[in-house]
């Protein structure tokens, strides 16, 4: 009871702590498994509310039989360590991968992933966004924000996300079995989900009571980072991180959905060489300098000083902790710049 009965309706239960959609603090956002064998798990990490970190997160991986085994797992006695591990074959009776993540703050988080051997994981190909004109935000009342009412509202393309407005986010998921749904997370704003892969996001901090607006605080202009986690509840997951800009977007470029400030916005889509430079104000902690567009799609990607990664620059390197930001500061990379 769970608290439940009769006059318990007089009881008051409000939200406790931060909502799970809020990207705050240190957190293991997802654990996914790359296709094929041996097992190559990857963790998506939020460090102090950011999708990057200057210091590495210590990751210890091991095959475990159950939750109790994970609780008693000593990181020093793990099967593999680091952000890009390859695990040995599992011992008899151990069908789950356990992770102990120790963040730079000292916070320790433990996570578990069942390895089912079922078909491949869903992939989040892209996320589209559109404006939802006519959807009340600051003065929503009655059933303005009810599920069926929102579903019936049309959307229209929008280049700019205005403060205090609704944006509809829709994830294109490939290879997803029935039951796959997107868990939306963001560094700011308020979500109201619409269906398994679609959500309305308010560029404002809303306090709703029974879907009626109690208070609304518009977000200041600037970037907001989103994470869309696809999970099929059968042990498969996929992560897609992207940024939207509230207000007019300054000069910059998008790489794999992430927005990096730049001295000038390059034409897109294109391939380009660029140097990464630390920028605490940027959503990925990095900005692009010395951008040089290249016409040859077979251009060679420079090596990066991070273990286990290679090829064109991928923002997942930071989200998954494969590259601390410090390691990429000043590094020249090849990147595919998307519209």
């Amino acid at each position: 009871m769970s608290g439940l009965l009769l006059l318990l309706v007089f009881a008051c239960r409000g939200p406790v702590g931060e909502p799970r959609q809020a990207l705050v603090g240190d957190r293991v956002v997802a654990v996914t498994l790359a296709d094929g064998e041996p097992a190559r798990p990857r963790a998506s990490l939020l460090v102090d509310g950011r999708t990057w970190s200057d210091e590495p997160v210590d990751l210890a991986w091991a095959w475990v039989a159950d939750e109790d085994a994970l609780w008693s797992l000593d990181p020093a006695a793990s099967d593999a360590t680091g952000p890009v591990p390859t695990l040995p074959d599992p011992p008899e009776g151990a069908g789950r991968i356990g992770l102990v993540a120790t963040f730079p703050s000292g916070h320790e988080a433990r996570a578990l992933l069942a390895v089912t051997g079922s078909p491949a994981a869903p992939q989040v190909r892209r996320v589209t966004h559109a404006r939802v004109p006519g959807q009340p935000l600051e003065d929503a009342e009655d059933d303005d924000l009810a599920l069926e009412v929102r579903a019936a509202r049309p959307t229209e393309p929008a280049e700019v996300v205005a403060p205090s407005s609704w944006t509809r986010l829709q994830a294109r998921v490939q290879g997803a079995p029935d039951g796959t749904r997107i868990r939306w997370m963001a560094t700011a704003g308020t979500f109201l989900e619409l269906d398994a892969t679609t959500a309305d996001w308010a560029s404002a901090d809303l306090v709703l009571d029974d879907l009626e607006t109690e208070s609304s605080e518009p977000l200041p202009p600037g970037p907001v980072t989103f994470v869309a986690l696809a999970n099929d509840r059968q042990g498969h997951g996929a992560v897609h991180a992207f940024d939207l800009f509230v207000g007019e977007e300054p000069a910059g470029a998008r790489i794999g959905g992430r927005w990096l400030p730049a001295d000038a916005s390059p034409m897109a889509p294109t391939w380009a060489y660029a140097r990464l430079e630390a920028d605490d104000e940027a959503p990925l902690g990095l900005r692009l300098v010395d951008v040089q567009q290249v016409s040859d799609p077979a251009a060679t990607a420079p090596e990066v000083p991070c273990e286990g990664v290679s090829g064109p620059f991928d923002p997942l390197w930071l989200l998954q902790g494969a590259c601390p930001r410090e390691a990429l500061d000043g590094v020249r990379v090849l990147a595919r710049i998307s519209p």
Binding site: M1, S2, G3, L4, L5, L6, L7, L8, V9, F10, A11, C12, R13, G14, P15, V16, G17, E18, P19, R20, R27, V28, A30, V31, T32, E67, L70, W71, R96, A109, R110, A111, L112, L113, A114, L145, A146, L147, R183, F191, L192, E193, L194, D195, A196, A199, L211, L229, N231, R233, Q234, G235, G237
Partner: protein, 715 residues
């Protein structure tokens, strides 16, 4: 006030009827003097007066408990002369509960007056049990508010009897009201521990509710409504020594509310009882029926904290429980026999799949008899037989199972899905002696039992001693062995669960001051083996050892119908140990070191009652979450629980105030009552709740102030 009706001729005879003002109850014991000559009233408070027509007559009516009246009138009268005498408000009878010579060395007694006049009980005698010494103070409307934990016993360790028949559960939804129609109860006794061989298969307390057994002289009844329930009762005499009674009560919010998103089927409950009895010269034979039902549908999640789309995916639990019994009771001078067919159904359906149905049919039968062997020796024998068959239908609820632990524990225990029939027969017999030796009385007894599940015999020797050391002082010592078999539902999870075996002792003293004020002090200890208890998750487990000890001090003072007060303070501990060499004692669910309170009621005027109840206690234990892990397989967080019962809710304080005014008319009365509860924060905390990742703990808060209104008409 008097009333008489005058009209045409009555042929020299005047029919006199004497009744009590307010409820029209007959007053057969009123004294009547007509023209200086005493006249006797019959059992219905009636007499026929032979008076000459046209001559003024004087009738003087007196009664020990009522205001007297003198009437002057001139016959003939065309209708009976009906006289209503007002009850005296004071001085009332001084009521002393101490010094009762029974084997139950500690006994707390509640009667209708105390139930109706104590604030916060909603006219429910059974609710008052939780304001008695030694009973854990529970937070109103918390999940455990209906738990009766007495002297360190767990909530499931006690037995509840209605006229000798054990009822399946005590409170609707384990919260609001008892399943006994309060208006039909005459009294209720709580035996906290150390009771005699008469009661058993319990390591906790015994609650024995007794219905009104006196044959009514006239039709009486009441109808009442408060903010939650509406109900009524009726008692009526029938010819040839028969009488009948019936009562019914139902909650009505579901009719008004029609459900909410959180409770698609709004909680509703009902209870009823009815009986017909024949009062003979030597025996009273009666048939009776009783029952109750609880129903609701709730969403298995807190919608307030879920996204609208998530809300659509949360399953609903449809829960219902009801029981009915039909039985026969025979009472004679020094004994009783009672048997009843009892049907008990629990049904829990989870919309996403998962089902639990338990239908139990039993024939609880009880015989008690006593007699006198010698001038100094009395005896008592009896037994209980309970043949029972339980039909279980179980369908796995998967990950939703742990969310229905209170309604359908086997789903939470993840017992293998099955359809099963579980026959079971339990038998207990007892014998007890009462020997008088000077100022001392000895009550040796023994109780033997057998359970067909596991063929587990129990042998429980008991002993009580009472010594009247002075006119106003009595020492009490009692205890023995108390054994309890697991519940049938628990045996579903593990058929090999053992018998809980406890040795218990009570030492007490009763002291009266000037024959008015009672002071009662008790100390108790109970050492148990194989205590079956329910951890916060998973199946029932067995603690190798249990230990409960404590002391209680109670002060009582009562003038019947005028004033009563009791105050108590209790200290006690209830601990468990897993039996391992490196294990520590830990608090059980019932560990509440300090509790106390005051109950006072004063009829300031005959029609005006003021009352107060204050209760305070150490906060109940709970098992806190000390961490969580993220299960990326299905994007959920799994809590990691800390030491069992290693945390406590804030200390609890609650004040209940009551004002009631009774409008007394000749044949009926109407009482308006207003109760107000006040719970100062942080005592408003009801139960813990956690953030989505169990990283933050908070409490669900109950109201600080809550007014309740009630209306009751009695005739």
């Amino acid at each position: 006030m008097i009333a008489w009706l005058l009209a045409a001729a009555w042929a020299g005879q005047v029919e006199l009827v004497v009744r009590q003002h307010g409820d029209a109850a007959p007053l057969p014991r009123a004294e009547v003097v007509v023209q200086g000559t005493p006249v006797a009233l019959d059992a219905r408070g009636r007499a026929t007066l032979e008076l000459p027509d046209g001559v003024e007559a004087t009738v003087v009516l007196t009664s020990l408990d009522h205001q007297g009246q003198t009437l002057t009138f001139t016959p003939p009268l065309d209708q009976p002369l009906v006289v209503f005498l007002r009850p005296l408000s004071e001085p009332g009878e001084i009521v002393v509960e101490a010094f009762r010579p029974t084997a139950e060395v500690t006994r707390h007694h509640v009667d209708a007056e105390m139930a109706y006049e104590t604030p916060g009980t909603f006219d429910d005698a059974v609710r008052l049990v939780q304001a008695l010494p030694g009973v854990n103070v529970q937070r109103e409307y918390s999940p455990s508010s209906g738990d009766v934990s007495v002297r360190g016993s767990l909530a499931g360790d006690s037995r509840f009897y209605l006229d000798g028949i054990e009822v399946p559960y005590l409170y609707h939804f384990n919260q609001y009201a008892s399943v006994f129609p309060a208006s039909q109860l005459d009294s209720l006794d709580l035996y906290p521990s150390g009771y005699g061989a008469r009661y058993g298969d319990a390591t906790g307390a015994i609650v024995e509710a007794v219905s009104k057994t006196d044959r009514p002289d006239d039709i009486t009844g009441s109808a009442g409504i408060n903010l939650v329930t509406v109900g009524g009762d009726l008692r009526a005499p029938l010819p040839k020594g028969w009488w009948v009674s019936a009562a019914f009560r139902r909650s009505f919010h579901d009719i008004v509310t029609q459900g909410t998103d959180q409770f698609p089927t709004w909680p509703r409950f009902y209870d009823f009882s009815a009986r017909a009895e024949h009062v003979g010269e030597r025996t009273t034979v009666g048939i009776f029926t009783a029952g109750s039902g609880d129903t609701y549908g709730r969403v298995l999640g807190e919608l307030d904290v879920l996204d609208p789309y998530e809300q659509e995916g949360v399953p609903t639990l449809d829960f219902g429980r009801d029981w009915q019994l039909l039985g026969v009771r025979v009472r004679w001078g020094r004994g009783r026999f009672v048997t009843a067919f009892l049907h008990d159904l629990v049904a829990a359906d989870v919309s996403e799949g998962g089902l639990y149905r338990k239908r139990s049919m039993s024939l609880p039968t009880r015989l008690d008899a006593d007699g006198t062997a010698l001038s100094w020796l009395d005896w008592a024998v009896g037994g209980e037989l309970r043949p029972e068959v339980t039909l279980v239908e179980l369908e796995d609820a998967g990950r939703y199972g742990p969310l229905v632990v209170r309604e359908a524990a086997p789903l939470a225990w993840q017992v293998a899905a099955t359809d099963a029939t579980l026959p079971r027969v339990r038998f207990h017999g007892y014998g007890e002696l009462q020997a008088k030796a000077g100022p001392a009385r000895f009550f040796p007894g023994v109780r033997v039992g057998m359970d067909s599940v596991g063929w587990s015999p129990t042998i429980e020797p008991r002993l009580a001693v009472r010594v009247r050391v002075a006119e106003q002082t009595e020492l009490r010592l009692g205890g023995g062995r108390y054994q309890q078999r697991p519940e049938t539902e628990q045996l579903l999870a593990d058929p090999d669960l053992p018998t809980t075996d406890a040795w218990s002792a009570v030492l007490g003293i009763d002291q009266t001051i000037a024959g008015r004020v009672e002071i009662v002090a008790d100390g108790y200890v109970k050492a148990s083996r194989d205590v079956v208890w329910q951890p916060v998750s998973g199946r029932p487990v067995v603690a190798a050892h249990g230990l409960a000890y404590g002391a209680e001090l109670t002060v009582r003072y009562r003038l019947r119908d005028t004033f009563f007060l009791w105050a108590w303070f209790a200290y006690g501990r209830a601990l468990l140990h897993d039996g391992s060499d490196d294990g520590d004692w830990f608090s059980s669910d019932a560990d509440q070191p300090f509790s106390g309170g005051v109950v006072a009621s004063w009829n300031v005027l005959p029609a005006l009652q003021l009352a107060l109840r204050y209760r305070a206690a150490t906060g109940n234990t709970f098992t806190d979450v000390v961490g969580s892990l993220y299960d990326a397989s299905d994007d959920t967080w799994v809590p990691r629980f800390g030491n069992p019962n290693g945390a406590r809710l804030p200390d609890y304080h609650k004040i209940d105030l009551r004002v009631a005014y009774t409008f007394a008319f000749r044949r009926w009365s109407l009482q308006l009552a207003a109760d107000v509860w006040i719970v100062p924060p942080p005592a408003t905390a009801l139960y813990p709740t956690w953030s989505y990742d169990y990283g933050v703990t908070d409490y669900v808060q109950g109201p600080i102030v809550l007014p309740l209104l009630g209306l009751r008409a009695t005739f």
